[in-house]
Every structure is written in C-alpha cells, then in structure tokens.
Symmetry: C2
Subunit: 434 residues, 2 copies
C-alpha cells in the first residue's frame, strides 16, 4: 500500500481539492480523502496532482523529424514525403529505440497512457517480417521499457490513395487485404483498430474493420478530414464526405475516435455528435502542418467528446495541446471561453483514457488505475497562483517542464522531473539524431 498526500488534487471539480490523501493498492487507487492530515508514512506531493494524461494519438517514430521539417515551406503533402523518407529507414530494432526514447519524453511530460496509431508494419518492399507483428511488438516493448501504458492502435492500410496502389514506402504500411489485416492483428495482445483513412481503406474493408472492432468491443480510430484535399478526393471517389462515408459503413459509434476532424460539414458534425464519438484534436500538429482549426466547440455541443494527441511530436506537451484547443478556437471565433478548463482537462485525462478503451483510468477515484501526474507550482511559469486559480494556471501557463512526478499503475516512473529507468535525452540524441 502506497499513500500519497497531495497539496492539491483535481478530482473532477471546478477547482482542485486540498490536502488529498490517495491510497494506492497494487496498480489501482483504493481510497481518496480530501481535507486529510498527512499521515507520517505518506509521500508528500506539493503542486497539483492530476489523473495521468492520455496522449490519444501518436506516431512515435515521427519524433525524429522534430526541427527537420518545421521551419520550411510546403504543405502537409510535402511534409508527408519527408515523413515517408524517414519511415523507409526504420527496422524493428531502430523502431524500438526511437519509440522508447519518444515514450520516455512522453513520460516526462506526464503522459501515462499513449495511443500509438501504428501503420509501419512490414519490411522494405512490403515484405512481412518473420513475425508479421515485429514492428508492433517493438512499439509495445518500447512503451513497457519507458513505463508508459499503451494501447496499440493497429491501422488497416490497403492502398496509396483513392485509386492508387501503395508506393514503395506505403507498401511497408499495407496488408494484402482486410482479411490479412485481421489475421495479423488477431495475434496482437489487446489491440485497438484503426482505419488509416478513407484514402487508404476502401469502404467495404472499412466496414469489416469496424465489424472486427465491434466483435471485440475494441476502440476504433481513423484520421478524418485533416486536409481539404482528403475531402475533395473522397467526394470525387464516393460522392460523400469522409465522415458520411464512414457512417455509411457503420464505423461511427461511442467506441470510434475521429482524429483531427478539422474540415467538417454541418452534417458531419451532426453524424459525429449523434454517434457520441470522440474527436481527437492534435492542435500543435495541426498548426505545424497548416491543417486549420477544427470545430471543437460545435462538436462538443453536438454530443461528441474531445481527446488530445501530440501526433507528429513537433512538441510533446499535453498542456500545450489542451490550451491550444481553446486558444486556436479563440482565433477562429474571436470569442473566449469556448471550452471550460475542466473540459480541456477531461480531454487530457478521462476522455482520452476512454477513447483508448480504458474506462477505468484518467480519474482519481477508488478503483481507478493508479496513473497520476503531479505538476509543480514552483516554477516561474506558475509561481503566484493559488488553489482557486490553479487549474487555469496549469492549463494556460504550465508546460511539460513543470511535470514533477508521474505514476503509472502504482509505480513512479518519473520523480523530481527525472525518468526512473531511462536517460531520455541521451536516448533521444542517439535515436532521433541522424
């Protein structure tokens, strides 16, 4: 039994509770008591303790692009060429090393659960590895070694575009057909499913992926309408928007997460809201790739939930993602207060956990997974706040650098801002430097 005494802890309300005693038994929270005196055997955690952050959309290997594409011109599509070039160089060993370093950076940023949207499956030329899940296993091992909980979201990828064969790099993403994808993912432990996009998966195959996910009650994700060109292509090929096409083959449900959901019609918003899907916003990537500003508030109003992802890892900072949802929408609408601070925090925690299939995490309550992150209030960024304003201060002025302690499943993987097991900067320099 571990006992943690938190100066402040966010239990879901408009402000943090004070003097919160959290008892942890094994990998779960046993009890939570506010206004408690600190027992002598309790570990004291100054600052604000939150449920661990869920990074609901990650492509771990893209960390190696940081700084190498961000200053330049071009578009999403020219960026994609650079990303493909990187992807073409990886094998299971280098993928393991790069993903472990990236997940280590996430741990230091307070990420306790990552949803890895995994599409780099096969060897050069699309030849399967001896274990056809060698790359997926590398990712799972990387998360285990970094101490971060993971949901591997294995992406079905069948074609290079609406009417295109996969190119040389895309062959590494592609399975022969949806049956081959099903056979492969059935050999993975507890995978979630993804339809990479309406570009990469035909509608009937998308229907089969969704049926597979339904049969396992597994989360189902897809990239949706990140760029107008995807909408245009989908309309030309199928006469429907990506969202409407996915709806037509029974993809939308409470288990579905639409990643990005940037360029939507009013009908799309209604479809997503009525189905109670989650929309995973990745605003630092959407800024970087000039994707645009998605209608987060309208989606919430329509019934959708929000989650957050650092996606391409231009930066890894879930607090920056959370505030960016609100701040970018302010730029689009010229209104403040589109999202209450607690909604942004829910997106970073419970709603992120839920969209990755962990209904029992992302909250500080008895029985929940003991995944916790403590943000210090003693840096120059947060000094001067008080209990009443601590949530808004952390969300709007805190950074990954303010994360002090991180617990996953009852074990501290980060203490005092340092990883328990890994020299993360050294691993990043070795794996992401090229």
């Amino acid at each position: 039994m571990t006992r943690l005494w938190c100066e402040l802890a966010w239990l879901g309300g408009e402000r943090p509770d004070e003097r919160v005693l959290i008892s942890v038994d094994g990998e779960r929270i046993e009890s939570v008591t506010s206004d408690a005196d600190p027992p002598g055997d309790a570990e004291r955690l100054p600052g604000v303790t939150f449920p661990g952050f869920a990074n609901a959309h990650s492509h771990a290997f893209q960390r190696a692009l940081r700084g190498r594409t961000h200053g330049g011109p071009g578009s999403f599509w020219t960026w994609r060429d650079q990303m493909y070039e990187l992807a073409g160089t990886l094998d299971p060993d280098s993928y393991l090393a790069l993903a472990r370093a990236t997940f280590g950076e996430m741990a230091l940023a307070g990420v306790t659960l990552v949803g890895e949207f995994h599409y780099l499956h096969h060897g050069p030329g699309g030849v399967p590895y001896e274990d056809p899940n060698a790359m997926g296993h590398a990712v799972l091992q990387a998360a285990a070694e970094a101490g971060v909980r993971i949901r591997l979201i294995d992406a079905c990828y069948l074609r290079g575009g609406f009417r295109e064969e996969p190119d040389e790099v895309q062959k590494r993403f592609a399975d022969r057909d949806v049956d081959a994808w099903i056979e492969r993912v059935n050999a993975l432990p507890d995978p979630a499913a993804a339809i990479h996009s309406v570009r990469a998966v035909d509608p009937e195959s998308a229907r089969e992926v969704a049926a597979w996910a339904a049969s396992r009650a597994a989360p189902l994700h897809a990239h949706v309408s990140e760029q107008p060109a995807e909408n245009d292509g989908c309309l030309a090929a199928h006469g429907l928007s990506p969202t409407a096409l996915l709806a037509s083959v029974d993809v939308l449900s409470e288990r579905f997460t639409a990643v990005h959901a940037t360029h939507l019609t009013d009908v799309d918003v209604s479809l997503l809201g009525d189905a109670r899907v989650t929309c995973c916003f990745c605003p630092t990537t959407e800024r970087d790739l000039a994707d645009g500003i998605g209608p987060a508030r309208t989606l919430r109003d329509a019934g959708a939930r929000l989650s957050l992802g650092s996606d391409s890892h231009a930066v890894i900072d879930l607090l920056e993602e959370a505030r960016a949802v609100e701040l970018d929408e302010r730029l689009a609408t010229m209104e403040r207060g589109n999202h209450p601070t607690v909604e942004l925090l829910s997106a970073a925690t419970a709603d992120g956990y839920r969209c990755l299939g962990f209904d029992d995490g992302g909250r500080i309550e008895p029985g929940a997974l003991a995944d916790l992150v403590t943000v210090g209030l003693d840096s120059v960024r947060l000094a001067g706040t008080d209990a009443e304003h601590a949530l808004a201060s952390v969300v709007f002025a805190g950074t990954a650098a303010d994360v002090r302690h991180v617990m996953v499943g009852g074990r501290f993987i980060v203490r005092d801002g340092a990883h328990a097991d890994l020299d993360v900067p050294r691993e990043l320099a070795a794996a992401a430097g090229r």
Copy 2:
C-alpha cells in the same frame, strides 16, 4: 575581457556557426571568431548562443493576471475590466515588486531588453504622485534590479474612448493634455514615446507626440487595430482606419512600431510597409484575448519589419512568440513557410532591439552590445538536433525552460537557468499572488 567559446552561435546566417569565440570588453562585444579552438581561459557554452531576445511590448503588471482570467469566457473588453481592477490596486512600491519579479521571469526566458509600454502613471483618482514619474521610476528600478535592459515607452493617454472621459481607473493613466505628457516625459531618462491608441489620444495630440519623438529621434509606439471594435470606433469618429488616422498626423516612420496590427485593410498594410515601420506581434496574447491573426507575412512583403512581445504575460516565452507568428499564420493561410526561421529570429533579436532604439544590439558582431542568450540542446525537447537543424529546432520546439545562460552588457544575469541576483519564483509568488 571575458572570452566565451560557443559550441554553436547564430551570427545571422541560415545555420549557426560552429566553435565561435566571442570576446567581450566591458559592455560590448569586441571580436567574434568562428571555427576557433577554445582558449584555456574561455568559458565554454554548450548549446546555441543567440543575441539576447528583445521583448518589445510588455505591460509588466499584467503578470499578476496569469491564470486568473485565462480560463474564462468573455472578450478583450471584459478582460480589460479585470485588468483595470488590478491596475487600480497598485502603487509605486507594489509596482516595483511586481515588475521586478516579472522582469526576473523575462531574464530567465532569455530576454535581455524589454520595451515596457507604460501607462499606469498616477495615483488613485488621477492625482499625480509627488514625483509625477514615480511609477515610471519604479519600472526602471525594477529592470535594473532584475538585470534586464529596458526602454521605458511612456504612453500618452488623454481620454477613455473616442468621445469619453477617463473613468476612475483610466484617470490613473491620463495626463491633462499632451503638453502635460511632454513635461512629464521630459523628466525621464531616455524615454521612448507611445500614443496609447487612437481611442485614448485625439489626432492633434497624436501629432504632437510624434513631433516630440521626432525631435528626440526616439522610438514611437502605439496599439493599432488589435480589435475590430477599435476600427469601427475610429471609422465612426474620424472616417479613417486607425492606421490611416495615424498616417494623417505624421506618426508613421521607421521609428514607429504598430503593436498588434491585427485587423488591417490593404491600404493600412501599404501605409505601414511604405513607411518601413515595425509591427510588434504578440501572438500568445492575441490568442488569449481572441484578437485574431494579423497579416504578418503581407506586412513583411510590403516593407514592414516584425518584432515580438509577450504583452499581457499570459506566458513569457519569446520562442513561443516567434513560432506562434508562423504557426498562427499557417492556420489562417493553410500554407507552411510564411516566415523563414531566420526572420523569426531577427524579430526576436535585432529587429526587436531596433524598434526600441537600440540599433547596436540584437546581433553578435564586433561593437554590438554584449547581450547574449544560450539555449541548451540537452533537454528532451531539443535532444536529437544537430548544427544544421538547430535554429529550426530551437524556434519550433524550444521553450523558455531551455534557456541556460543570459548575459546583459557583459554580465551574466542568468547562469545554469538560475537568476544571479533574485529568487524569481519566490518574488513572483509574493508579488503576483493576491
């Protein structure tokens, strides 16, 4: 003589120079040599050394609002009510303490020069202090104690709106007339001038402020078109946009800085560009206050320069301001590469210095002020970069937390991320907590 040997230093080119020896004599740089071996007596600076950052638009006291207004609803105008409430509570002593702590935070973020746009002049009810510049002197003393170079930009403020008397708080900002403003600022050491805005200063008084600045060859700043309501009011009162109105009374020149410049007509852009003004963008504030996205690229193309400010200090991070200019414009235009990385760095350094009247700073070259900032490349944010990509990595993924050493006028005010003289978090907690 101090000798600094920099692993990498940005001397203005597309990539940093390597192994750069900088000799400092007194408060100026004496010599700069690339590809130099490190002399035994040189201090070694790993990472990338830049010219010090200029924070060209600051209202230091607004640091006390951080986290207290940012999560809520409302608009620029309701935020202004909260800001006025804070302003109403300050006196020279509390202003000194708050500004010193804020400038201390800036020092830790690599800011070596701050342009303090100063309008909180008088005591309650607008009664002048015994020294009518008591508040200005408090700000100057605060910067001196924090070790940061300052240009006090004293703002002429005469009325509460286009046809309104100052309210109770605004009386503290207001001088009786422009002659009273001139008499007061003449008693300040080396002030720059500001026209607070076209709301607060009538055109003929604006002309006199501009004439005063011209006679002293002093910088002249003004808030310009931050909100559409200002444009609407100006058009109704004067039949001109704020920019056109300022142009009509001889305000625009190379010494002029238009702060925000968010909502401009094509004619405004031409006027500002033709006059070779500087436009000071404050994107983290413009996000926070739902101001909108200004046409930074069009302004540059038309002939204007850019500088950067943290303004309301929702956050203090010049790297975040620099990338936000580019990233927000990507959201508006759906194009990457609106601003080359070196242009963003120039805005943070030489062009910021210039718009504050320091033509001899913001660059690493013989004779320039020895104002320097070293950004470490060893954090998880920047690990994995190399010399070729270091500039884009720092601008697009670095943060204030990566600032290691800061020199102002030949003296280190920050070493290893700690302030030489102040316990900044403690001062912020005391002065900004309420």
